[in-house]
Amino acid sequence: MRQLLTPSGDLVGEAPFGLDLCVRLYRAMVVARSYDRKCVALQKQGRLATYAPFEGQEAAQIGSAAALEPDDWMVATYRDAAAMWAQGYPMELLVAGRTGDERGGSPPDHVNVLPPSITVGGHMVHAVGLAWAERLQGSSRIAITYFGDGATSEGDFHEALNFAGVYGVGCVFFCQNNGWAISMPRSAQTASETIAQKAIAYGMPGVQVDGNDLFAVYEVTRQAVERARAGEGPTLIEAVTYRLGPHTTSDDPGRYRDAGEVEEWRRRDPLERVRIFLSERGRWDPEWQAEVEEKAAREVERAVELAESLPPPAPGDVFGGMFESPPRHLREQQATLELYRAAGEG
């Protein structure tokens, strides 16, 4: 397993980036954690629908997204808000999406991120198609897709990898192996020793990396992205990480996993090791940390305010966004509904 920064903050190889970028990515991880905790709190207050927290996976998401170009395609899941935000997806739209507002699924035009996949596994082949189509149109954009260890048991995963391998498309398959698929541990998910080794069967490189190591995640993703962009084909990355929280806000992980296991992973916190690394190089102190956290909280607060200030959708909006030219019966239904509402009867 590739590792560059140990849990105690020791650099055991060459840093893939300079201190300035390291500081920037550390800040991003702080913002991501702040966002994640805020969303859990909002859900408890009934201001958000079901939420899937990613605490513990910040390095996997921020480190991998940092290896992309701003216009590369990202096809991610309900647990990947940090990666999506890092790729330019406005935070207020991520929040809006979780309140149940479909407008949250429509980022600005320059952001090449698909709406997050809420079903497991069906989205990976979209990244294959995106990457293939971009190459066909002469563009150098690549696609990255995020998924969990559970999704690798879906047939979709195998068809996506097989297709990508045969067509040699510029696609990066980024698996966050966070140990658990709801209540199913990784050991019960597949008899393969690693998820990365599944790549061999599809004729592409597979790399296992410490997913809580920002440095190593960035390095291996950067290599996969460069390979993809150079037309050398897809790569499967297995980032070994841990879901510190529940599957979603509707789940109680205490029923199926040991508190001791969670504590053990807390000691491998992806933020802590970077904090030590920066501290030892004179780029971190408690005051700066407080300032970074305060700024993060303000950014998250502003996003929540923006999301909650969106005017609520009207009943007639259920007809919107179905077709470029809606069929006559839907147009008539919508017009009738609006007529009755205008008359105060709807």
Binding site: S106, T119, M124, L136, Q137, G321, F323, R328
Partner: protein, 336 residues
């Protein structure tokens, strides 16, 4: 108008779209080198090359999902599901992924793809390669579903399907691939989706058909002593309510003939609409002529019995007109 087989009309529609729009690409199993198992993509590889016409692994979920992704970049993929049965392993990509992207992204991510699939019985392909299965897709908002009923409309409907900005499922009755017809071609020949076609005018009864049953209905009308108006729906989602209601308002009798099991076929939707809107005007109950609720038989004799035939449609309709009551279907001893 050139005369050609339905598979040739399909190949020409795709080729003409590819000529006029460089974003149209074709992929699927055996569509490039082999020209398609039913020869519906014959000649495309030679003219447009391997970038735009490409064979894929036997991986329906893989290539249908890739088409969704490719469509999101602005390409117009036309993918072929060799037998509609094979859509079963890829249905998620159609009903849950591709048809929902526009909605989930508030209109930003669009999926202008066409899924072509061969459907239906009549060629002795047995229970797993003879079904119609369009019912799978009709209650999945975000999709459009159309079918050719012969070479005559295959060309025009397919051109509209490929030009459409949303996912369209285009069904091709297998037993009609080799049947010839006069085909209007060219960029003005596109037939709008959602528009039915009055194939033949009549006064005593309206017979609504779709895909493979249109020919059956026309043949029946030609032999009948009564005057039947034949409507080819051409598109099931959205279906042309106005055309059907206007016709039945005149004839006051409706027969629906579909190649589907009796229970839960699309004809029930049309029967409900017509019975609700024209309740007081109807002079007979709505009659549905279908297959029984059983798999498609393999053997020729049983397969012929299974499909709604011209003589069966005639006998059933005649009974309806003569008695004003519903005949029993053949599997309950009704007129054949």
């Amino acid at each position: 108008m050139p005369r050609m087989r339905m598979n040739q009309a399909i190949a020409q529609a795709i080729a003409d779209e590819m000529r006029s729009d460089p974003t149209v690409v074709v992929f699927g199993e055996d569509v490039a080198e082999a020209g398609g198992p039913f020869k519906t993509t014959d000649g495309l590889l030679i003219e447009f090359g391997p970038n735009r016409v490409r064979d894929t692994p036997i991986s329906e979920m893989g290539f249908l999902g890739a088409a969704v992704g490719a469509a999101a970049t602005g390409l117009r993929p036309v993918v072929e599901i060799m037998f509609i049965e094979f859509l079963g392993v890829a249905l998620d990509q159609l009903v849950t992924q591709g048809s929902k992207f526009r909605y989930l992204s508030a209109g930003k991510v669009t999926v202008p793809m066409t899924i072509r699939a061969s459907v239906g019985a009549g060629l002795g392909f047995a229970a797993q390669h003879s079904q119609t299965l369009e019912s799978w897709m009709l209650a999945s908002p975000g999709l459009k579903v159309a079918s050719a009923s012969g070479a005559e409309n295959a060309y025009g409907l397919l051109r509209s399907a490929i030009q459409d900005e949303d996912p369209v499922v285009f069904l091709e009755p297998r037993r009609l691939y080799a049947v010839r017809g006069d085909v209007k071609v060219g960029s003005n020949a596109a037939i709008p989706l959602g528009q039915a076609r009055i194939v033949r005018s009549g006064e005593d009864v309206t017979i609504v058909a779709f895909g493979s049953t249109v020919r059956v209905a026309v043949d029946a009308a030609e032999q009948a002593e009564f005057s039947a108006e034949i409507i080819d729906l051409q598109t099931l989602v959205p279906w042309d309510r106005q055309a059907v209601l206007e016709s039945v308002a005149r004839t006051k009798r409706l027969v629906i003939v579909e190649e589907n099991p009796y229970s839960f076929g699309w004809g029930t939707e049309i029967a409900t609409k017509v019975a609700s809107e024209l309740f007081g005007d109807l002079e007979a109950p709505v009659l549905r002529v279908t297959t029984p609720d059983v798999p498609v038989p393999f053997g020729k004799a049983l397969e012929e019995r299974f499909l709604p035939s011209t003589s069966y449609l005639l006998a059933q309709t005649r009974y309806l007109l003569e008695t004003g009551t519903l005949p029993r279907p053949w599997w309950e001893g009704g007129p054949t």
